[in-house]
Symmetry: D2
Subunit: 277 residues, 4 copies
């Protein structure tokens, strides 16, 4: 007997569509819709974030990402603007009408983020932070659940089960690479996880090629591979000046490269007659 | 340049000794002292826990372990007795005079656990739960920091750095196996991590052969290997009836087998002229 | 300084095209050409292999695969028909005009295979069998070099360097999945290896989604991902009755499913304006 | 049903003892005997090898190691002295009376090596080179079978099964570290593999802490751990001037450090009442 239940295909044979209200009508995630999430690794300043939001909106991105509370391996690294950055994010959301996503690390931040943020992201380090998962299960808010660096598919499904078991079935999986022995890429994208999750679960699954590869030149080929393999979308990092980014510059696309990538994945999705928003 | 500082050998060339007050005088961890932590995976009932505490005390164990809040991969598994179990743990501590250790998963449990618990354990799933690490850094309480399933040595040192950076330098590392491709053991003990941590850091390092192997027959050989490699102690699971344990029965020793193991590791430690408490 | 030289992009900035003579003109591998290699895991009988060859030819496959000497983890498993099967393979090659590929495990088999076989395959277990690589370096015959189960990209490039250093520059890389902790797929396809190899080397790179996933339902999504990521082709296992195959049945496509897959990867390749043969 | 048979404990409940004739009487490997194999990574010159052989003999080493045919990741690295070195090895064997061990990579070298070499070593890269295993199975000569870098315990047992199935039951396992994500050690010693092999098989198992760690400072702690965990012996690299070694200098002990290590492992073995030769 499998240990997960509510997330399974057996429990719900139809693809779940997660609808996010926007001024222009609901954004649908899952069931063949293609979702493009883009933005800088972290919200760094009001000017650059608002400019980026406008650029991405005009280029077709569906959701705006930006880190406020950054989990960093070293306690001495830049950790994000926190609640200061949230105001900037709210402004960008207001201006562009784009839904926003940011990572939550602390259950005590739920009240702060709930109002403004459309999708709460659980990072790979917290995939098995059950305290956090249980609190998110009590909300009526979409949760993007990144795969832990060494989480098996089953552990990932069970982490989602924690959220659904609490009453919140708006979970979006996000493959972001697993840890292997290969030193030349930051992580190894488990491309097979995409069809496997689609077979085992009714929930949407995205791919984050930026964190997975750690090299911007690989973002585009891996993003295309993800869509070809059936992913419900991608989440990519974009920065005006990647070389000056406060975090993750090496893996960030310029807006120009994002534009090229966007057109390529749309063409791929159209080839499969998928829904483009 | 290395990213960690306060945990490094360069910062403090002498081995740190962590002293835990007990009715019979301080228990020393680190710097050649051999520490034996033992107890059931979880506190299951008052009777069994008090009996086990008495047994382990009489056999020579230095610290009593018992899970109250259990991180479980599935939301449907037994998750521990929580605050109910804490009273039992307090009673066992009072009766035997042994310091106690239990896992903390939620920053909101600090107040509850602070008074009774002598060592707060951070489990492998939470090794990079920075919210938790930062709060533990503000306490004056020893923290046992288990290595994440796929954490590099450097990430582990940096997780400890979070705690020391907050002002709490009472950190004890605990190797509990890393995730590899090998399916016949639950995890793979990285025995080389012991001498490596001793070279790189002044903090103590223990080994948990129970979780690392997942098979009780392997606990004893791996515990002996740990002590021979220079570990400052071991943490093992002991249960009166392993086959009836609510969790981790397969990897639990019986009290009889613990007694045999205890004598063997003491003999090994004496061979190296180490301090036995 | 990088340790590899002849295989590098620096040494040869243009994509190498490997030409294999066929009755209908040379088959080109690399440089944007899309190559589809298909066939059963092993040559099992004359009738089934000739039938399969005809089917695959009619469906558009470019190269016919079939194992004669099978490396098997257990000494008690079916190891292939050996030289008996070679005659069948020669007949299928003659009948269809398709080039054939089979694995070579033993340097002493070179003379036997040289005449009939168009591409000699080095399996993942032998990627660092330098004795074999050196002998293949002395031939004027294309070699398909599978990545070892836990080979880094650099080790893979260096294995190819052995062959080029001997004078044979007709090497085709083949990603077939690496070994990770994930138990639900046979191996984990390193999709990022495709763009990485294309950046670092001038040699072609294919993907084998059959061995990599071990599940036929995942073959098609992963094959499409490979082509979208820029692979020069795919190698897939096809069997008339997968459930009766003497080896690798679980990962084999039926001819019907191969036909569907073929059309999908061709559509993907056309979208990128690639050369179809 | 397990796939291996002849190597299993079920097939032979008693520990196999492999006896190697020496001028001073047979050397026993397995069943509690402690075997110390030592020597340089490669035979580099007559003078240094003969000197080292004398030193090691006087310090108590049981078997002399030295590479003649070195498997190297790059085709441009030093590959050993080959048959030239064999004469030096023969001379050292004659002078000291110590049995010698060297790696065999090519089935065509069996005749060359058979006379002089007492134990033929199969390196980790060739653990699944079945051509080689089958030929070694036809000999009456001990084989030391190193574990492949990413070989499971079962695959390792099955590789040995190939040799026993051919009629040669003189197989000695050697754990030399597996490949994991940890970058600070060359490989990760799977210390749990020692008790596991002892439970599952009747054949001896050694540990090579030099290749496994890649750092000489870790060789001694890991060697001691191996003996404490029940290994039948260790194989270590020793070099007069590690910093000038043509290969593997970083992991080589000086003769002085070998002497210290030797005494420590003997003391450990005596504590367990094991047989010392």
């Amino acid at each position: 007997m499998q240990a997960y239940k509510l997330v399974s295909r057996q429990y719900c044979s139809q693809d779940t569509i997660i609808k996010i209200p926007t001024p222009g009508g609901p954004l649908c995630i899952g069931a063949g819709y293609l979702t493009i999430i883009a933005g800088p690794c972290a919200v760094e300043s009001r000017d650059t974030f608002l400019e980026m939001a406008g650029l991405l909106k005009s280029m077709g991105a569906n959701v705006l990402r930006g880190g406020l509370f950054k989990p960093r391996t070293s306690p001495y690294s830049f950790k994000g603007l926190g609640s200061q950055g949230l105001k900037i994010m709210a402004e960008a959301r207001e201006l562009t009408g784009m839904p926003v996503i940011t990572e939550i690390m602390d259950v005590r931040d739920i009240d702060l983020l709930y109002e403004t943020v459309d999708i709460l992201q659980v990072g790979s380090r917290n995939m098995q932070n059950y305290t956090l998962l249980e609190e998110l299960g009590r909300l009526d808010k979409p949760v993007l659940l990144k795969r832990g660096l060494s989480a098996t598919i089953e552990e990932w499904l069970l982490a989602a089960e924690y959220i659904l078991n609490g009453g919140n079935n708006k979970v979006i999986f996000c493959e972001r690479g697993i840890r292997t022995f290969e030193p030349w890429t930051r992580n190894t994208v488990d491309i097979g996880a995409i069809p496997l999750i689609k077979q085992l679960s009714h929930l949407p699954v995205l791919v984050d090629p930026s964190h997975a590869t750690g090299r911007w030149k690989m973002v585009s080929p891996v993003a295309k591979a993800a869509v070809a393999a059936g992913a419900d979308g991608i989440m990519v990092e974009v920065h005006q000046s990647p070389e000056q980014a406060l975090s993750d510059g090496k893996q960030s696309l310029t807006p120009e490269n994002f534009q090229i990538l966007y057109k390529q994945v749309i063409a791929l999705a159209e080839l499969e007659h998928r829904e483009i928003l």
